[in-house]
Symmetry: C2
């Protein structure tokens, strides 16, 4: 069980720790998701999306489904980045085709957010982590996660997913003190949340800064780099051996500052990061994860095989976890996922 | 008139040609737009958005409004990137709050697009260019424009603005020959369209590749760099002295390949390009334009003044046209535009 699991070598975790493996381990973002019929079947048994996240029996089931089907090297906790907002007292509902919808925060709402109860309010999530770890083979890595503070804040302030995060950017500029307080609350809550995931049995965690785009370098530093650095430091203070992956989607030319200043053990690369620029953007030795365009996985065919080869070849000299550049999309054919996995393993 | 205008020194055009001016000239994207009451008044006199673009009297009026009000260094033709699609036979309607909506192209539709009539179908646009040039002071630069082929294709194939351009990316991967044909048609149409704008009196042109994001470097090369390079070459073949600005919004770390390979005279920078990385991304001498976050212009106050200073100081050693990183948004207070212009001129 947990103690055995910790003594067994996990190729994916070892890669994130900087030890290159004979072949790149593989998992992929949203691997437990709507493209899988078994996911859709379990999802249909929950009242709504958040109930699925908060019911350990069901959340464990969907977490394990892709590992069982594809023999992936890692399971990632099934949950949502907005459970943090929910635990702070701002609930969200999930609408089909629209994603999460929240009542947007006003500056005066921020003092009412309550970060004291993360461990209690999110107890079902930690139960899921521990149940999954108990059922997962010892050589598989269990990945916990949270959303990056900026990304979570864009939903809390904007009320929904947005093309340009304009509401959050404007809030941050118009009400800098309130926004800084919100980011502080999210940083502290994220440290508590990730620490508790490690305590429940997570082997490593990923911070999804999925909307790290549209910011100029000043705002990128204040709202993305600094809060992420504080999370890395805060989690390491409490969990000495913690392994953390940072994923700043859309960071573009700001990626080098992110990699240099946040202190993550590994960096997740979106598909916009050109392979030949990775050495100059994140240094030559830092473990990386990524970065297949999920749309290439939808399209399949020879272009998919070629691109997989390009990615693996580009990272032959550094620790590399194979992954997508963003979450798998619902219309992805399972046969293409199988093609991808065969391509990675056959390299 | 036109001939006098061509003999008079235009600070903005000279900057784009590589001659640094004592202070940065200024214009900004969507300067003729909904934030201006005089624009809204003229817009109300047109049946719909495309009628406004196709009525030279009204289009000229809105083109000149921001130059008259703010004494900017350039007018930019009032039109839309989708007039090209319209001229090719795919019409669009503009819905309030949603932007343009088109009947999405299927692969078999592409052979029906007709690129032979650009000059005839878009004659009102060229009339506008020539009427504006005749009314504009000789020291003001008149900027023509078109959309980048990839950006226009995302609308033609996707049917509307999209968060991730997934429909166009998938189309390009699933139907590479049809998509390449579409890009060829757009490249040729854009060359005709821009050449005719120069002939009508435009001093320079900008190619808006506004959705140059979400692409991996292979697709970025095929769908953005190569088509833009062909437009630059094609226009230069026909208009020897042509000055062209490329604006690949969201190119991120792909910006260096874009600047190096397309051959543009100047590069427009979105706000995500960190100022300290510009030398390494676009070289030390190429004229640049940008890159104030339009949301900073909405927020106003001391942060706006500080950021303007940062931008101007960063480009003190190279030709620089002050601009936004993306179009001005409708809720921008006019007082903040005045503050920006005073900040740039007072530097």
């Amino acid at each position: 069980m947990a103690s055995d699991s910790r003594l067994t070598q996990k190729p994916l975790l070892e890669t994130l720790r900087g030890k290159k493996q004979p072949r790149p381990p593989i998992w992929f973002m949203r691997q437990a998701g709507r493209y899988l019929p078994e996911y859709r079947a379990t999802r249909a048994r929950a009242d709504d999306f958040l109930s699925l996240c908060y019911t350990p029996k069901l959340a464990k089931e969907v977490t394990l489904q892709p590992v069982t089907r594809f023999d992936l090297d890692a399971a990632i906790l099934f949950s949502d980045i907005l459970v943090i907002a929910d635990a702070l007292g701002q609930s969200s509902r999930f609408e089909d085709g629209l994603g999460p919808v929240l009542e947007p925060l006003e500056p005066y709402d921020i003092t009412r957010l309550d970060g004291q109860n993360i461990k209690i309010r999110l107890a079902p999530v930690f139960q899921t982590v521990s149940d999954v770890r108990a059922s997962l083979s010892a050589e598989k890595t269990l990945i916990g996660f949270c959303g990056g503070p900026w990304t979570v804040a864009t939903y809390m302030v904007g009320g929904k997913s947005s093309n340009d995060q304009a509401k959050a950017r404007l809030f941050a500029l118009r009400h800098p003190e309130s926004f800084a307080r919100l980011i502080d609350i999210l940083v502290e809550a994220s440290i508590d949340y990730l620490t508790a995931q490690f305590e429940a049995g997570a082997d490593c965690v990923q911070v999804f800064e999925s909307w790290a785009l549209n910011l100029d370098e000043g705002m990128f530093f204040d709202e993305v780099i600094e809060p992420n650095r504080r999370i890395v430091d805060g989690v390491r203070d409490r969990v000495g051996s913690a392994v953390l992956i940072g994923f700043p989607r859309g960071a573009g030319a700001n990626l080098s500052s992110f990699a240099e200043r946040t202190g993550y053990d590994a960096i997740g690369l979106d598909q916009m990061v050109p392979l030949e620029k990775v050495d100059s953007l994140v240094g030559k030795s830092l473990p990386v994860q990524g970065n297949l365009d999920p749309i290439r996985l939808v399209a399949g065919g020879p272009q998919l095989d070629r691109r997989i080869e390009e990615i693996i070849s580009a990272f032959e000299q550094r620790p590399h976890v194979f992954n997508l550049g963003h979450g798998i999309v619902p219309e992805t054919p399972i046969a293409h996922v199988e093609q991808m996995i065969a391509g990675v393993r056959g390299h």
